[in-house]
Amino acid sequence: MENKDYKNNFISNEIGYLAKILDTEMTISERMKIKKSSVKKIFGALIVYFSIIAIFSIIL
């Protein structure tokens, strides 16, 4: 029983590990900074958005 609790506690720490680290080791202003690669991915997502809207305007 104790072993099972220990295992589940270990798994709890494993789930959301990165988010917990960001919360405990960074301030809000530090968390506001995002990687350049993330900015590129946001632009990529916007291109996907405009492509989908273009498809809608053709098929709808």
Binding site: S12, G16, L18, R31, K41, A45, I53, S57
Partner: protein, 265 residues
């Protein structure tokens, strides 16, 4: 020529922002509101499913990018990915079951089951607020499986409330709020893809012509997509302590809204 309706874009943005931040509310909140505004169910339900299918994946991707969660889509899957699949599978089975109910025209008193879900969400929200100080962070896999099953059952019988039950179920099972939100977002995307497929296959099975009106799609999709980019970032920057309060409070709000819609509005 596609048409953009500003008020629908704003509503979709607000509800999807809350859905991607708190793991609930897009379908449960926006559907009744659009129906009250005079839109037909066939103008609303499939459109929300199509939009949620795309925004769910987008939101899940950016939750991963902003490190609210770490999905691993190659074997061996990590725990977060396994939980996401568990929740998604229960939702997919539920969607197919609800199509089966529609196909065989099995009648269930909608008011009774909708009251049951509204009360369930309300009670779960209240319990989540009460246990804020005494919460245990130990992972409870069996409890998570039970709540996924319960949420799937509710969706399957057409009562909705899948997001709130599965989200609060994760929190009760010891999952970190920020990560739970990310898990629900991606699993809702998968469930919505199956939902769209069910909607398209339903007319083939029943030999009926299902005329879906796509007038709301560009507006709902635009508001939802922008929210799916913004929300994971908001989840990242605000501390988990804030989401611990926001999520159950929003669930209580949804429960009250559902009851008000049934008995007052």
């Amino acid at each position: 020529m596609i048409e953009f309706i500003p008020v629908i874009i704003i509503l979709a943005f607000l509800f999807e922002t809350m859905d991607s931040c708190a793991g609930m509310g897009f379908g449960t909140g926006l559907t009744p509101l659009l129906l009250i505004m005079g839109y037909d169910p066939l103008q609303v339900v499939p459109i929300l499913l199509i939009s949620e299918a795309i925004t769910g994946f987008t939101s899940g991707f950016f939750h991963n990018e902003f490190e609210n969660v770490k999905f691993k889509l190659k074997k061996p899957y990590n725990k977060e990915t396994k939980i996401m699949f568990t929740i998604a599978i229960s939702g997919c089975i539920a969607i197919i079951f609800s199509v089966f109910l529609t196909y065989f025209a099995i009648k269930i008193d909608k008011n009774i089951i909708k009251t049951y879900v509204a009360v369930l969400v309300l009670i779960m929200g209240i319990i989540a607020v009460i246990r804020l100080k005494s919460r245990s962070n130990t992972y409870k896999p069996k409890l998570l499986l039970s709540f996924s099953g319960l949420a799937g059952f509710n969706k399957g019988i057409g009562a909705g409330g899948y997001g709130p039950v599965v989200m609060l179920g994760q929190i009760f099972s010891g999952i970190y709020e920020k990560t739970a939100t990310a898990i629900v977002s991606l699993s809702e995307g998968i469930v919505s893809v199956v939902g769209v497929a069910s909607f398209l296959l339903l007319p083939l099975i029943t030999n009926q012509v299902l005329e879906i009106d796509f007038i709301l799609l560009p507006s709902v999709f635009t508001g939802g997509f922008i929210a799916a980019l913004v929300s994971p970032y908001l989840v990242r920057i605000f501390p988990n302590k804030m989401w611990q309060v926001v999520i159950p409070s929003y669930a209580i709000g949804i429960g009250i809204y559902l009851l008000a819609k049934l008995y007052i509005l």
